[in-house]
Each structure stands twice: as C-alpha cells, then as structure tokens.
Amino acid sequence: MSVSSPEPGAEPREADRPAEEELPLDAVTGLVSLGTEDAPACSDGTCW
C-alpha cells in the first residue's frame, strides 16, 4: 500500500491541517482571551 503525497501547491486536505486549538470562552465577558496573562500593563494608576 502506498501513501500519495499532495501535488506541490495543492490545498492541504482537511485531515492534513493541524487541528484548531480549543480557545476558552469567558462566560462573563463573552470574549476568548488570547496571549499570556503576565504581559506588562497598567492598572489602578500604576504600571511599575
């Protein structure tokens, strides 16, 4: 049994595509949070 390779430049088949990661939806805000939680930011008047 042989396994064929896709033609160069061909669209990847569905099964070849990496699965989309599960993104957690915040039930309160309705947003999916992306990025890390420890990124620098300012809050409550301070940034330091």
């Binding site: 949070s33 990124a39 930011a41 330091w48």
Partner: protein, 213 residues
C-alpha cells in the same frame, strides 16, 4: 474586522503595546480590512484636572517609593520602550488627568482622525514631555492633528464627549478589561497588555479565520 483599543495617554505600556500591535498589523495580509478604534481608559480619574506635576514626584507620592526607587522602576520601562523605537522622557514628563485629552481623541475620531490623535497625544506625553494639563498645548496639538482650533477650544471649555469617555471606561469593565492596553477584536477576542508582536499577529489571524468561517 474591528479592533478596539482601550488605552490611556499617560500609560507607558500602552504606547509600547501600540507599537507592537502596529508591527503585527503591518505584517497582516488583510490589514486593509481592519478598522482600529481608540477607546478611552483613565488609569487615575481622581487625579485633579488642570494640574501637571513632575511624573516621578507623582509616582513617588502615589507608591511611597523614594526618588531613586522610582528612577529604577521607570528605567526598566524606558529600556523596553527603546526596543520599539520610543525614547521616553520621564525625567521631564508630567502626570496629568487625561479626561480632556480623551475628549479630544473622540472629537478627532468623529472626524476620522482618531489614530492620528492618539499617536500625537501619546508622543507628546511620553516622549516630548509636554504638559497636557495645559489648554493652549492641547489646542496646539489638536491643530497639528488636523482639528480646528476654535472647535477644540470649544470642546475643552464644555463637556462634549464626556459621556463617550465614561461609556468607554464602563465598556472596558464589562469586557473584563481591568488594565490597559486592552485590545478587543470583533467583540470576540480579548488581548490584555503589551503582548509580543507574535501574539497580536496570531490574534489577527484567528479573528480573520473566525470572521471568514
């Protein structure tokens, strides 16, 4: 696609985050389909309006830290800012209440000049160390942005756009944005803080795929 950015003019991480987001947007294949809206967020709404105070003095008073400790804190941010081409001047900078600046950003946004206004005011505050509690300075900057001087002065003397500034702050809270910068794409994806360029790039791709699905 719509990207809303909650940001305060005096927020050093917001300007750094803005630069990183802009780099990601420049690289994004569908950048021409992205609309950026600037939303107001006041880090310290209780700070007296019309008063400009040396930023390091204000930080020392707020945190109880010594001048040397404040210098060390700001030095770290200056270093990161320099990496994205921003030469912050905390030595000569002023702490101000940004309510009126945000009202002018809303005026500019209503004229299609929101991005230009936000950039100009942040540069004036953090790099040029201008005193944005001074009405004449604000009007001068408004004119540079492309606004009419008389209109800017009229807005500053009245309370135009005050409701929009407050509503922006309330919206950030509803969306879970307790700090800034806070980026929201299509009211579906939230990104908090000055994330690396790759995070913004990945978020734009994810949002585009979601919008296209």
């Amino acid at each position: 696609m719509q990207v809303e950015v909650w940001s305060d003019i005096v927020c050093p991480w917001c300007y750094i985050g803005k630069r990183r987001f802009e780099t990601a947007l420049e690289q994004f294949e569908h950048a021409d389909q992205v609309e950026v809206l600037w939303r107001s967020f006041q880090l310290d709404p209780s700070y007296p309006r019309g008063r400009g105070e040396p930023v390091r003095d204000a930080l020392a008073a707020k945190t109880g830290a010594s001048r040397e400790q404040v210098r060390a804190m700001t030095a770290q941010v200056e270093k990161v800012a320099a990496e994205v081409g921003l030469e912050y001047d905390f030595e000569n900078g002023f702490m101000v209440n940004t309510f009126d600046v945000h009202r002018l950003v809303h005026l500019a946004q209503s004229r299609g000049l929101g991005t230009k206004a936000h950039e100009r005011f942040m540069h004036a505050q953090l790099v040029e160390a201008k005193d944005l509690s001074d009405t004449a300075t604000l009007v001068e900057l408004a004119v540079e942005i492309g606004l009419d001087a008389a209109e800017a002065r009229r807005v500053l003397e009245g309370d135009d756009y005050a409701a929009q500034v407050r509503e922006d702050g309330a919206a950030a809270q509803r969306l879970g944005g307790n700090g800034v910068p806070f980026f929201v794409i299509d009211r579906a994806f939230g990104i908090s803080g000055a994330q690396p360029v790759e995070v913004f790039a990945s978020a734009l791709e994810k949002a585009y795929r979601a919008a296209s699905a």
